[in-house]
């Protein structure tokens, strides 16, 4: 009898006591902005099949340095590596890499091929998931080139890793042009120069007989447009970096300056100053026909086209001081974020003067130079005029341009009166400000598209 009762009671409480916790799976909601830290990566030296161990090590060095330059990754100290017998063909011992708390592990191998080329293969492992991270759907990549092109292999590897881990488009395998400045103030020599995105392979493209300013890359990466004082008058030219040939753009009666390619590379936007008034023009490079975009007694300059080609952002002092405006490329009226309809809508209303707007390759932001209270700033603002963010501040910060993926802004800085200009970069988060090393003082940087 008692046993029966006990059984009954037991059954009852099995049901009661057991059922509720089993059903209620603990629910945890983690909210917030996250605890940002650079992602720890381990990139051991590559396995070498061949004799050129030095080259293999240099390639790995460039990969590490590219990734580290983003401020998003932290390279693990090779002295902490436990597993030494890594092979690209064998799964690594993840436990060994968890100990040093690395999120990602890159295992690579370097080969010298019979035809004299070099090849680097690599895999990116997710240490905590214990699986390979696919790149373009493949569990690894192999890149081949001539030995003198080795830096590009390194940049491509870094780009693959960066893209896989951040979701951003690549940008390491790209170049920068800038104006290399030498000589005394009164007899300054300003030459067009080019370098890899990491500052390697610096070369001069023009001899420096005539001052050149504001170079801009075409989307093809083979052409540059800039303003040159050739013939004593500032005018916009096209320059082919492969042939070194320079060509005057158009037959404008006035001075032309502040050129920039349209996103499709088929046109150049520029400013012409005639009779004391500056207005915007667009010239088709095929037909060589130009079209006037603005007709306003104020100064309109620095046009930059949206990625979809429909809109143009520019600087104008039509409101009394230099501010940023957006217009439709076909000059039709648009609905302004501040209300009403107009041909040109002002998007900057905060204190200060705004200039040199550049539309982001992603289309959602405009980078600018801002001057306020004796300081200069590089900042970004939404195309609706919302969300202005100042990313840098200095005695003189000027001339922003976007990395091809729209994550980094390059600009030039004079840190104090009389100090020569230097190239700097800032990422969109504002966390990672870095100086780009150049052989001379440098200004007016412009970023190329990613090389093919």
């Amino acid at each position: 009898m008692t046993r029966l009762l006990m059984t009954l009671v037991m059954t009852l409480f099995v049901t009661l006591g057991f059922a509720s916790p089993a059903q209620a799976e603990l629910k945890v909601l983690v909210e917030g902005g996250g605890n940002f830290k650079p992602t720890p990566l381990a990139i051991p030296d590559f396995q070498v099949r061949g004799t050129n161990t030095d080259l293999a090590r240099q390639i790995a060095d460039v990969v590490r340095s590219d990734l580290e330059s983003t401020g998003l990754f932290e390279m693990q100290n090779p002295a902490s590596f436990i597993q030494k017998d890594l092979s690209i063909d064998v799964q690594p011992r993840f436990a060994d890499w968890k100990i040093i708390k690395t999120d990602g592990l890159v295992v690579g191998s370097f080969e010298e091929l019979a035809d004299g080329k070099i090849a680097v293969s690599f895999r990116l492992w997710d240490v905590y998931a214990g699986e390979v991270m696919r790149i373009n759907g493949q569990p690894g990549r192999r890149l081949t080139t001539t030995p003198d092109n080795w830096r590009r292999i390194a940049h491509k590897i870094a780009d693959s890793i960066y893209t896989r881990l951040t979701g951003e488009d690549p940008y390491f395998d790209s170049r920068l042009v800038y104006i290399a400045e030498t000589g005394p103030k009164l007899n300054r020599v300003k030459r067009l120069a080019i370098m890899d995105s990491d500052g390697a392979n610096q070369q001069y493209l023009t001899p420096g007989r005539n001052t050149v300013l504001t170079p801009r890359f075409s989307p093809s990466a083979q052409e540059i447009t800039y303003m040159s004082y050739e013939g004593g008058k500032p005018r916009v030219y096209l320059f082919n970096i492969e042939t070194g040939r320079q060509e005057l753009l158009g037959n404008f009666p006035g001075m032309t300056f502040a050129p920039r390619f349209s996103r499709d590379g088929e046109s150049v936007l520029l400013t012409q100053a005639e009779n004391g008034n500056s207005d915007l023009y667009i010239m088709n490079l095929q037909t060589r026909q130009s079209k006037r975009l603005t007709e306003h007694p104020a100064i309109d300059t620095s046009p930059s086209m949206s990625p979809d080609g429909r809109s143009i952002v520019f600087t104008s002092d039509r409101g009394g001081s230099p501010q940023l405006y957006i217009m439709n490329a076909d000059k039709s009226p648009r609905t302004c974020p501040s209300g009403g309809r107009d041909v040109a809508c002002r998007i900057t209303f905060n204190k200060g003067q705004y200039s040199t707007p550049v539309w982001s390759p992603r289309g959602d932001l405009v980078a600018f130079t801002k001057q306020l209270g004796g300081k200069f700033y590089i900042g970004v603002i939404g195309i609706d005029g919302q969300g202005e963010r100042l990313l840098t501040e200095a005695y003189l910060d000027e001339g922003p341009d976007w990395s091809p993926n729209g994550r980094v802004i390059v600009f030039f800085r004079e840190s104090r009166p009389g100090a020569g200009p230097q190239l700097w970069s800032i990422d969109l988060s504002g966390r990672n400000e870095r100086r780009l090393q150049t052989q001379t003082e440098a200004s007016d940087p412009a970023w190329s598209p990613v090389l093919e």
């Binding site: 046993r3 009762l5 968890k98 100990i99 979701g167 951003e168 994550r407």
Partner: protein, 308 residues
Amino acid sequence: MLRGLTVSTLVHASVLAMAVLSWPHQKTECEKLIERLEREEPGLAPIDILMRLPQCASSIDVPVDFVEIGLVTDIAPAQKAEEPPEEEPEEVIPEEVEDQPEPPPEEESAPEEEEVVIPDEEAEPEEAPKKEEPKKEEPPKKKEEPKLIEKQKPKEADDLDFLNDFENILKDKAQTERRQAPDEEPPKIDKPVLKDVQQTRQGAGERRGNTASLQAAMRRQIYVCWRGVSDLPPEDQIDVEMRVSLNRDGSLKGNVELVSPRSRPVGRSGIAVDVALRAVRKCAPYQLPEDDYELWKDINVTISPTQP
């Protein structure tokens, strides 16, 4: 008149008493059995008789003991039912540890874990003593055991044999009792069942309280490993819901399962999934009170990037 009433009452009472007293003389089968048992083994406690003759429970007068059994029984099923699932992970852990020798990072956290776990751990010692032998937590648990048993002794010294079967339960009960006000103990005798139910309810209430603190503990630990996705465009900063199964030592049991989205999306929102999964994987083993293992062995985690 009054005297007559008194006499009448007395007479009636004595008649009733006679009847009651004479009734037992017609012995039932049970009473005979009990009498024989008492003759054969003098000094047997009522509870022992009950154990030998369970079919005669109604004839054996052991109310106090019965109450205690009821109490024990009440909590026992929940505990017992929970045991089997616990055992499996126990066996699994050592294997995993062997495969992946990551003691250094885990050891750092170990002390904290012990601090948290020890006080709540009484329920476990006998559940899996053999399996837990290699574990660090064992000694502290054993220290707790004697105390618990002592607490029971004064009232039910005789019952210990019987209760051995339910030691773990007793400890759990003792644990519950310690949390409760001692005043509640006396009424046990009268309403054993009701009392039991009350205790269960209180236990459940505590669990609800634990749930909140477990959630907070998990949230805190995961957040440390979650680097955020503020660099992604707003539309790609998606919520990621995962199901996480944990071993008793807080390490991951198997893989983290994606609930929503069901698989890693193509495009930038896939990065939000990567980052969320990495956070949950990287922060294991989790430090949670082992006593509440049943509550956290399966956890549904949602990482929700809120925009500034």
